[in-house]
Amino acid sequence: MTAPVAQRRVRISRVAGRFLVFDIDDVVYIRRHHGICAVLTGTMPQNPTQNLFLGLPVELQAEEAQLLVDKGVGYVADELSEHLSLLTSADDTARKAYLQHLKQLRRNAQLAFEEEKANIQAKHQAKRKVAAKPAKAAEGEPSSSSTKPATDSESTSLPDTTCVVPKSPPKESLPAITPTTSSALISVTPSAAATEPPVPSSSPSYLLYRFLNSRGYYFTPGLRFGGDWSVYPGDPFRYHAHYLANYYGWNEEIPMLDLVTSGRLGTAVKKGFLFGAQKPSPAGGEVSDTPKQDSANQGGEVRVFCIEWAGM
């Protein structure tokens, strides 16, 4: 199980400035191995105002996307430019392969339709049999004999009428579909074109995010508790959030009222208010002299503080 996981590279699609993951295996992988649960945002096409039971794609925060890029397990693909260039520059074989893929999708759809049709027919027939049996038992011999010819005539007459209709040419008629993904079109490997990072690696939000993520904390957006993030001690499926968190720069001034209000709010929802920052590394050197520490300790130390109401 570990071997395929090690090679996995998560495709993060940048669409209109948002970072989306469309592959369910990628979603499971980053949740399980990198502590990123992110937010499901997909609605059904028929119901764009849906706000419950959302599905793929998963939308990553910029910090989460940056972390995957930094760890080398993901890459950001600019979907608009990539799709355009792939569609215009595809050579003949690639083009044919793509068209073949579309045809296969349509065939699959056809098979699915037929299967469903057969299921429905089988169900109807079963129902008819159940309905016919008690009727037979109640009425006895004569009635059953009277119904039989009727069904016989039906079955014989129907093929006759269909035969009148001129036969359609024996061409494969497949249903039209709109492909839900363009997985066959896009390359599996990241394109060489360098994309700008989701967030600068030195931004305060990213530094605090990386620090807490490396300690096993999970994040969800924090608006519902009045902060930048809600921070969970493990997967949010299993735990309540421990903290509501805000990030600041090392030398950013925080009004005392912000600390008091957030601390008060946090205590009211049984959470601590967490804030923190990374100390800028001395002499501007990016790499610290400590040789082999986890990646979260690049640069200066990260200091975090928790605030709670004192109850007095």
């Binding site: 903290y243 720069g249 005392m256 600390l259 008060r264 049984k270 503080f305 004192a310 007095m312």
Partner: protein
Amino acid sequence: MVISDHLEALTKIVLHNLRYQHDWVEVHQYTKPELPRPMIYGLPPKRLYVHPDEQVAIIRAEKETGQRIEPEPELEWVLPLHLSEKWTPGQFAALFDAIDSIPPGGPDPDSFDLDDPASQWKLWQGPKRGKRVLLATVQDDSTVTYYWIFDGLVKPRQN
């Protein structure tokens, strides 16, 4: 260290508030060159903070001995602040670096018996105690609010 009038007044307000409104005893000012302003430490009438893991240890000890344990009050640090102030994370870090977890006059962390299974819960008053400071925020109407600030990741209490 030269203390400005404003800081002196601020410290006095908090000191009096602790002494006369919250019945603290042994309240003292604490100055140190590394500290940007005088701090206060003192003894509250009852225990102000119980770490969630300390609570677990206490309940365990209560179960073993069959006796109720009432945690004794501990000496606490207090930082007087005015509501109009703005502090940076860097300043808070420097403040925590300048103090010990236990204020002067408290128990010596080295005097605890680390191996005695019956007194594990007591370690939270000594070596296991993290750095914490009461932020005493003063407003102009002389309201003082008290909030804990902890150094590092400290999980919230199960209140």
